[in-house]
Symmetry: C2
């Protein structure tokens, strides 16, 4: 059960390492031709729900590039789906929820499911993936933050500003909190089940936390992420990633999370300052900067590591990799971290 | 020529005032029934190009609520339109540019126009509006930042992450800078013409600056806004507003801008800290928070003023008002500022 490469877990513990570990958010994704082959044959939820497919997709980037961690292929919206909220994935459109939640009555109809029953396919995929990984690198499990899940459940689709979701919270706060608590309870049970099935760490993605003012973020988002951290942190290391949530970093640093993700608008210096300098940070290369020529990617990655420091640091992008990134550019990113030497 | 209400201009100079001035970004907008009446009869660019319509729309919110400043009804995309780039405004879609710029050759075809010839209708609208305003309150003119204009010109439409625009900058930086300079030259001539026509202050909107990492922001956005400030600041006060650009506030505070706009993710305390405490700040009520009940809006507005302080401060939203805001809620926002008393 000992991992051959435990760099990622050591960085999460804050241990001194020879170089930072590296992985990429959405590393099992559309930029990979081997992923596109599977994508042409099976629709989105079939890929999520079939353990053989999800595990194969999960290990594809590890085979090609040898990242220091794998992240289970899945989607944050399997949670509302398991809660009896219909979720469709429309081609060229993204997620679509035909019956969005807009009232207390809608919230009352939302179910906190038995996660083993409704999401057992995820646990099967984890077991499959662990076999394929053969103890080479650790496996990360993930979930969306309750606020981010609420955004989709109420808005009904992606949005630039999630104005309907925010309006719901601000005009019907009691219903909003009831929904957030149901999502939180489900998410905690789900992540615990993932740990039992074998994931070595978990990451909570708060993709839309940055839409909220600091006070509203504490009330509608952070409060629930903290519950998740409290429930999980003694089982596995927890990484909390809030896109655009720089303002909350001081609070997040005190949460018991093993590491915090930061996006590219927050410099290493600002991130270290805001978090007090002790916690492991993860990030924050601008995904669009992977369109630069490979030599420039290498230079910028080395500069990024210099700025964060090689310890208490996990090299990553600041958000998911874009579908149009050339393979050699993704490789340049990974190799730049692997070849890093303290200057 | 002396304004009856010069509170806004005094706050821009940093003078001590009895209460902060107040206006709302996009205050001449879809939440107003009198605006919707005009909107039903005339399409978007007809409204922009007809001085009688643009001036009438501009003064509508002042008549109803008595804000301390008017802002000329127009659109940031009149600039690319004047530069020989086709811009359409599609119902239920937003801006659409059928021939987006993707190469040096495309950039070469972009024209730096005679703004009096191509945008004379804006200057006419300003003269009309000044007559209607009858020296009651000052009139603000505006332009998009060159980076934000480039985003639309290259992406061809709105976007969550403007990945195509960013890719263009990162893979063809020489072409990108040539385009940015052409937009900057046009914008400077345009804003100077607006000042000559009678506007009392100008605001530069960098709506998409927050998509960029700090280093890229300096290179692709701020550099050009600084040129605009340098060219305008001795003529009228300049307000620079960058949504999501908290990380650039220290640099912006040294620019010669009279005031800086901040969005709601940057608390008053953070904004004062990042800008050194001396410059006038404008913002930053979350537009979605105008969905709260009026009594709560009043409480939150008073708290916001307490936190920013009544001096060197212009009360505003952190972005444009949403179309679904009830009239009484907009009124509660304006009245809360007008009724503010130092406690």
């Amino acid at each position: 059960m000992t991992l051959k490469n435990d760099l990622f877990l050591r960085a999460l513990k804050g241990e001194t390492v020879e170089r930072p570990p590296v992985w990429m958010m959405r590393q099992a994704g559309r930029y990979l031709p081997e992923f596109m082959e599977i994508r042409e044959k099976y629709d989105f939820f079939t890929r999520c729900r079939t353990p053989e497919l999800a595990s194969e997709i999960t290990v594809q980037p590890i085979r090609r590039y040898g990242m220091d961690a794998a992240i289970l292929f899945s989607d944050i919206l399997v949670i509302p789906q398991a809660m009896n909220i219909e979720v469709q994935m429309k081609p060229n459109f993204g997620p679509y929820l035909p019956n969005p939640i807009r009232s207390q009555k809608d919230v009352d109809a939302v179910v906190v499911p038995d996660v083993h029953e409704e999401l057992g396919y995820v646990m099967e995929a984890i077991k499959h993936t662990k076999e394929l990984l053969n103890d080479e690198v650790p496996l990360i499990g993930f979930a969306g933050s309750p606020w981010t899940i609420l955004c989709y459940c109420v808005q009904g689709q992606g949005s630039k500003n999630f104005d309907i979701a925010k309006s719901f919270c601000f005009s019907q706060p009691i219903a909003a909190h009831a929904l957030l608590q149901k999502i939180t309870d489900t998410t905690i049970a789900y992540l615990i089940a993932k740990v039992e099935a074998g994931v070595d760490a978990v990451q909570v993605f708060d993709s839309w936390g940055g839409m909220l003012a600091p006070e509203d973020y504490s009330e509608f988002s952070w409060k629930y992420i903290q519950q998740i951290i409290d429930a999980l942190k003694d089982l596995v290391p927890v990484i909390a990633f809030g896109k655009g949530c720089w303002f909350a970093l001081p609070e997040m640093a005190k949460s018991g999370a093993a590491a915090l993700g930061v996006d590219w608008t927050c410099s290493a210096k600002n991130a270290r300052y805001l978090t007090g300098g002790q916690i492991t940070l993860q990030g924050n290369f601008d995904p669009a900067r992977l369109l630069s020529p490979p030599a420039e990617i290498t230079r910028r990655v080395h500069q990024m590591i210099d700025e964060f420091g090689k310890d208490r640091y996990i090299a990553n992008l600041g958000h998911g990799i874009l579908p149009n990134i050339p393979l050699e550019n993704a490789e340049a990113f990974i190799e730049a971290v692997k070849s890093y030497k303290v200057s």
